[in-house]
Amino acid sequence: MSGSEPLGTEKIYFREAIARAMREAMREDPRIFVMGQDVGAFGGSYREFDGLFAEFGAARVRDMPVAEAAMVGIGVGAAAAGYRPLVSITYMDFMMLGFDPLINYGAKLRYKTGGQLTAPVVVKTTAGAKGQGVAHSQCIEAWLMSVPGLRVVAPSTAADAYGLLKAALREDGPVVFVDHKRLFPIAGAVPLAETTLPIGRAAICRSGTDLTITTHSYMTRVAMEAASLLQSEGLSVEVIDLRTLAPLDIETIVSSVKTTGALLTLEEGQVTCGVGVEVIARVHERLGLIPAARVGALPAPISSNPVLEPACLPDASRVVVAARNLLKNRIC
């Protein structure tokens, strides 16, 4: 051991946290199985399913042809019929192909059947820009937040990926689990004991008194970097990692903004109809028109171009500028 990890934890890669969650869940519940491209012997595009095929075999770790609509639908159908599949969609961009079975059937199943059926399926997908071009870079989790019957979670650390995935696999309805390309190189401390995290609970990663930043997924790391920079300018920033996008943990956010009096939302997706505008609207409903601002990608497709991609995406310095402007304009 390196010795710097908290007691009772192990430091592992993000992908290992996912594999561990799957392994534990699949050992405990024989109804859980995995479907996706390259999930079997290949172990997943990010090796996030390493070891599962060897332990559980082809019946429970199933490679699929490229057919997202069918894949999601088969997952939803098998879930409705009593299983607990995890459908892996390598790029979130291609989740769109599975929207019909997931949203028109899966999310509405309990309601439309008057409670007779439900679809406990987890759709796990990787979002985010990392040099792969306009159709392999999107963060569209905001699109899913408004679907009644659909839960959406987005971890930013290995520990949260582990805990939220275990929780997602225990839910009685459909859950979309969104991770991010840029989270896979990171490692983090994960509890040694088998644990789950509650869905619907945000985490305060950094306490502060002058400004609340709400964020999720990879942007949490950007927010923390920005908070450090703002600290050196004498500003105390509280960073809240949403962790669950649907249902949002509005209580934690409201409680924070009551103290700070200012709210900045940060996401890698588009700000139009994004995660941030929903957070701000709900905070305004509760606290009145406190100063608020949104930071997200510029309104353009995200090219793989090495100059244009970073120009499009939020980074710590853009967040710092937005925070300064927000606090400067605030009437104290």
Binding site: G73, G75, A81, Y83, R110, Y111, G114, L117
Partner: protein
Amino acid sequence: MLIRGFETALARRPDHGFQLLSSGEEAVAVGLCAALRDQDQLLTGGRSIGPALARGLDPKRVMAELLGKISGTNRGKGGRGHLADPAAGFFGAHAVVGGNISIAAGVALSMQMSGTNGVAVILFGDGAFGAGALHEVLNIAASWRLPLLFVCNNNQLSVSTPRSTALAPKNLSDIGLAFGMPSWTVDGMDVEMVASAAQRAVEGVRAGNGPGFLEFVSWRFASHSTTARETRSRAELEEIRGRCPIARQAEALMAAGLMDEREHVSLKHEVADAVAAALAFADESGYPDPDEVLVDVW
């Protein structure tokens, strides 16, 4: 007869709602369901009333559902487009054309994984034949040898679009052959032929031979739905309605000495009574409370 009587009575009501009726296509529903056992599951598209009744769902609860009452199979919240009674082997209708073909494959997969000896049957129209979902699922079902039977009720019209202008294969069942599965095209207006073809197909799937594709060629006697305009001429319709599968079966039974006129009339009364009882049940039942709007969302 029950299906025809039920739907006729429903259509007469001013509050009949948005319905897709099976008149002319009753033989497909009845013949297909005759081949299904308790452990099987039937999924359908939006033309669900005929198949639901044929599968044995209680007409009272179906009528209540269609009229939006809380005593309906889906607590009034699904309507015709989403009728479901999985405990009775009717996993359910889904109103998105082709939208539950992949769902049916998931049900079939669950049966395969559990080893239940059940068969999942997905009934869709020629209107769904062009949908991508069908082709993706044909491939996976064949590849995994899923216990799934594809049944295409080809009534030769998708709202206003004739099958001949929209769909390329000579027989729609040819698509099954392309994926290496047993495939048949059968006359959908003869209930005995439908039943025996369905029996053969279902048992082949049950035996572990992998999926099968059944095409029944039928005729729709009315327009696509209660809101859709009819595109065929009066003369055309008169000719089409002359092919009534119910009349045909009645004639065949009487010709074979298996039913006499008195028994036929008696059946008509039985149907009328059942339909009346269904309507009465539905009319006596209440609507859901407005608070029900937020129940069973999650």
